[in-house]
Symmetry: C2
Subunit: 149 residues, 2 copies
């Protein structure tokens, strides 16, 4: 557990530093969103970030949240994830070790993360054959969780 916390802090600091070095100012909204994202284990929606910050006593306008999410995604610091349902989710891009994919229950909407080295190797091989310069990938498994089944 200790390792996770240390890595999260790293992402937050690295992100704020990267933006600062690129000439961006880190105002109230940006800092609040980055710090909240750095504390998560899995992806969040814009609305969940909005609610989380309000609950923390650091309310930020929803428009600012979307602007921060766009900026971080464009800089490659955040990954936008579409699990269906028409709501975008976002999560911090950390190192290789914490790379994972998602498993969604179609019935209750529950989302879980999973990781598999063999799957990553198969993806690497496919990516080299595409003719594209592949920047990232998403895998979503859809089904029914134990509770719903």
């Amino acid at each position: 557990m200790r390792a996770t916390i240390i890595k999260s802090v790293d992402w937050t600091e690295r992100t704020l530093r990267t933006l600062h070095e690129a000439g961006y100012r880190n105002g109230f909204a940006r800092r609040a969103v980055v710090e909240l994202l750095g504390r998560q284990d899995c992806c969040l929606t814009a609305q969940e970030i909005f609610d989380g910050l309000r609950d923390d006593g650091r309310p930020v306008g929803i428009a600012s949240i979307y602007r921060v999410l766009d900026l971080l995604t464009e800089k490659g610091l955040l990954q936008r994830i579409d699990l269906g349902g028409g709501v975008a989710r976002y999560e911090a891009v950390r190192g290789h070790e914490e790379h994972h994919h998602h498993l969604v229950c179609d019935d209750c909407g529950r989302v879980e993360a999973f990781a598999d080295d063999e799957l990553e190797r198969a993806l690497d091989r496919v990516e080299r054959r595409t003719g594209y310069s592949v920047a990232g990938h998403d895998v979503v498994l859809r089904g029914s969780c134990a509770a719903c089944r």
Copy 2:
């Protein structure tokens, strides 16, 4: 090419028959949408279906299109695909042979299909370990196509 056309007709017929046997009537909108989807090689958005049908001289209301897409998705005859950008895409669910995934250019929005047996085997293995009853999966590779790079 011949094989593709034959399979497409199969999907169209199988779909209309399945609906009929389940007690659904096949009116103008439903038949038009199913026939158009059956002719595609890759996924389409609701708007593309709307435009395509208008161009064919068989205009269908956008609401009916969404209703047909929902029904077919629920029946497992159609797969809903989210490639980011907040627009849902849909494609016919055909046999194992035509199963494929998608490659998206982040710059120009171009979408291509790819298939890889080894990737499918890796996914099968992961799916058995999840504790979920996995109904399907999506893989999206994001990057820059040759033209944009």
